[in-house]
Point group: C3
Chain length 162, copies 3
């Protein structure tokens, strides 16, 4: 069994189905865009196992609590792993998490974006280890996110090419 | 005639003049920064043919309607192509649109950023085709943008080096 | 004496100590992530010489004046240079500033983000010169930033590998 897949199983994590956008919405971009050894990953939000977008919805520090937001960031990592699995076939091909850009739907006055995005960073480092999982990061506050999601995270990776 | 230029002519698209910033404002960065085969493109907003910034201005979901915003995203693509043409000399040198970061000046409660940035993505894919035009994307909501623009879009490309 | 270090001394700039996050906050990412010749730099805010986060705090165009914000962007550049010095050992290894992403904590109606981030860009170009310092840039408005900082800036560089 591939190493990362085994780790996901041990941790009880289940990769969700592909995102089902709301009826009528076409998303003409690639969730994962592989160019040679470089992987550009689109902004991912939290998903339920059936691929639907996971709530709670709204602004962190407002409708969404800090604790819930940390969990949504963690779920966003799992969504991203699911997209990567679909595109790469094998998550063990990932050799480096270079950059993570963590966007938090932010209520007026909320400034704990780093705590929220730690839900993502800690999961990635736990799964991939400190060397492959090592990433630069910004964790910042947005005025709004698609589908009123509370968290959306973009990333930039390197893979082994066959 | 170069392929992309021909396509632009067929589509009736005219590349605007270089941006004229407001009097007294110096912009000390490069609109297009070519480093080897990698091209970093600065955030571009919509422009009129004379290079001035195109309105309507303000927040999408507020002063600016969704329909207008889609058109502004499309115009931002044309602005970016104009900057790329000036820097590269020939748009056929572009071999890959890797990443698009679409920023929407967002009124409270507006969450249809993907629909807005589709104006950009669909034009790029129409012009460059599904392989070269393929890009990862985030489409997210900002609290404000320069000159009160409604849309600003950043990109990361690869070119053929001579 | 290395060229950039000498320049910093001439300009009277002192690199601050490593950031001391508030008690209890773990930041599990890398401030500077070197992957081969590519350097991903995390979002940096302004710091005092002792490594603490520098104010004034809040939104530009609100609690924080434009002039103060320009100075905070300049200080963010110095923070970033300090992190780069710690990671690279020698700032002369930097061969290219490719991309700068300037995030401004933005009060309603404020739209002069480019003026703010010029504090960063102009310092980098002054220190590294127009060729190495040349960068693509976006300067945009956030709904909130960590620790209620007024400015945070992310960058992407290239270095000479030994």
């Amino acid at each position: 069994m591939p190493k990362v897949a085994e780790k996901l199983t041990q941790m009880g994590l289940v990769l969700p189905a592909a995102l089902q956008p709301p009826a009528g919405l076409v998303l003409p971009f690639a969730w994962v865009n592989v160019r040679g050894a470089t992987v550009y990953v689109s902004g991912h939000g939290p998903q339920n196992e059936d691929g639907s977008i996971a709530g709670p919805f709204g602004q962190v520090g407002g409708e969404v609590s800090l604790n819930d937001a940390v969990d949504l960031a963690r779920k966003s990592a799992v969504s991203m792993l699911a997209s990567l699995q679909r595109e790469l076939g094998d998550l063990d091909r990932i050799t480096a998490w270079n950059r993570v850009f963590g966007m938090v739907n932010t209520a007026p006055g909320f400034d704990q974006q780093p705590l929220v995005i730690n839900g993502f960073s800690e999961l990635i480092i736990e799964i991939f280890g400190p060397e492959i999982g090592r990433h630069a990061r910004s964790a910042i506050g947005m005025a709004g996110l698609p589908f009123n999601m509370a968290v959306e995270i973009e990333a930039h990776l390197t893979i082994a090419t066959v």
